[in-house]
Symmetry: C2
Subunit: 259 residues, 2 copies
């Protein structure tokens, strides 16, 4: 089974200036992976409408099943993600009655102009209720792709992913995913390379990735992952590959520990 | 003065699976910003050569002054960033004598095939010495753009940025940059919006960005930044805008604290 594909578009100058680390993207990526999808690309773009809509247009052209944007839904002048999506799709940004009702509830009727801005969504889109904050999200289908716009505040983004995106993903055809981590030392990464290739040749449905870690002490982290029809099968594949890999590594004198 | 532009391309499935947070990109972004450059886009792509070289080709087409890649320089089968760069540029990947000498020094002459792989760089490129690890980096000029490939291991990436990229940036025409942070509470972000617009209208060379924070307690972080010809001027611009902004916020009953 081909897993569904996802692109994440993070909108915000604060990521591009290095002030904020993009933990939103890694949180979403981890969730999508565990739910059986494949994140193909993560793009961080500025708040500028031209640049943001270009990133969205390019993502659309690659035809992922889902594009998840984060950030740029708030009331300030540079919260322009929905305008960018509208621009990318060549549709208008309309005042949405349902979104307006959400804001009226949040602000007890006092919808000032900066607040009203949050009720404008791309034509054809559906507002998504924000259970934690005020700004509604938005879902819009474009051909076979679904664009979901989530806020940038992590607590709001997570709550809305769980409320709106997860149920949507659970209805998609998807594969099961399993992964294991091994910590290896007393061996060079260049000596591990042929063992990894051997295991990947023998264990077909498995992907093995090593990365050198050096936080105080230096060691190699090896991740063995598998996609399969069932979780059981994916776990079995990963376990079998791990067994084989550990055997080869120990034979070569490495110190091995499964995490 | 137009500041020089930078794109960061992070290569690695471990970022796309959410296993690793992209702190490399934020570290580079912060350094570039403080050195007077503007990061226009951050792209995370998989280890796949087709996907990685597409991301590099697209970045090149946007004509930034610098493209900095991280990751994919090691000895394993999926370390293919240099191959991807060669592919994007339509040039061959050659065994480079200088890179080979670097590896011979690191491995005391024992350059096995997986190690030899790290000496292959795109034709026309120049290997960059890695003072911390083994894999050399690479610098290649393409028209007006310079591509610099750095390793993914954070300690190696940082050392090589400082050894090779910073000196390069210091020779570019660049602006000075300054920023200040204000922490605001007892006010809604939607009420801050018109104040931010007022300040940005009055203080021309300044950019003001607010973001809602909610880690336990909820507050708004406002960042005031400025680019100018000299650091002194940039700092003055930011300070003046901060003064004005705080005045407006306090008048509206907000609690304000400069960080």
């Amino acid at each position: 089974m081909t897993p569904f594909t996802v692109e994440i578009v993070t909108v915000g100058n604060e990521i591009l200036s290095g002030r904020v680390v993009n933990t939103n993207a890694s949180w979403i990526a981890e969730r999508v992976t565990k739910l059986g999808g494949v994140v193909k690309r993560i793009t961080t773009t500025s708040d500028d409408v031209e640049e943001c809509s270009a990133a969205i247009r390019e993502a659309l052209a690659r035809k992922p099943k889902l594009i998840i944007t984060t950030g740029g839904l708030g009331p300030t002048f540079d919260d322009r993600t929905l305008e960018s999506i509208a621009n990318a799709l060549g549709v208008d940004l309309d005042l949405n009655e349902e979104a307006l009702r959400m804001l009226e509830e949040k602000y007890r009727g006092k919808v000032t102009p900066p607040r009203l801005k949050m009720a404008k969504i791309p034509r054809g889109g559906k507002p998504l209720y924000n259970p934690v904050g005020t700004a509604p999200g938005c879902l819009i289908e474009v051909g076979d792709t679904i664009i979901v716009a989530l806020p940038g505040v992590p607590s709001e983004m997570k709550a809305m992913f769980e409320a709106h995106v997860e149920p949507l993903i659970l209805r998609l055809p998807r594969s099961a995913y399993a992964s294991r981590l091994i910590r290896v030392s007393a061996i060079e990464e260049s000596s591990l390379a042929p063992m990894i290739e051997e295991v990947m040749k023998k264990c077909k449905a498995v992907y093995v990735k090593s990365r050198l870690k050096s936080n105080g002490e230096t060691y190699i982290e090896v991740e063995v992952s598998s996609r399969a029809l069932t979780t059981e099968e994916a776990e079995e594949n990963a376990a079998e590959a791990c067994r084989l890999l550990k055997e080869l590594m120990v034979k070569a004198g490495a110190e091995v520990q499964e995490l």
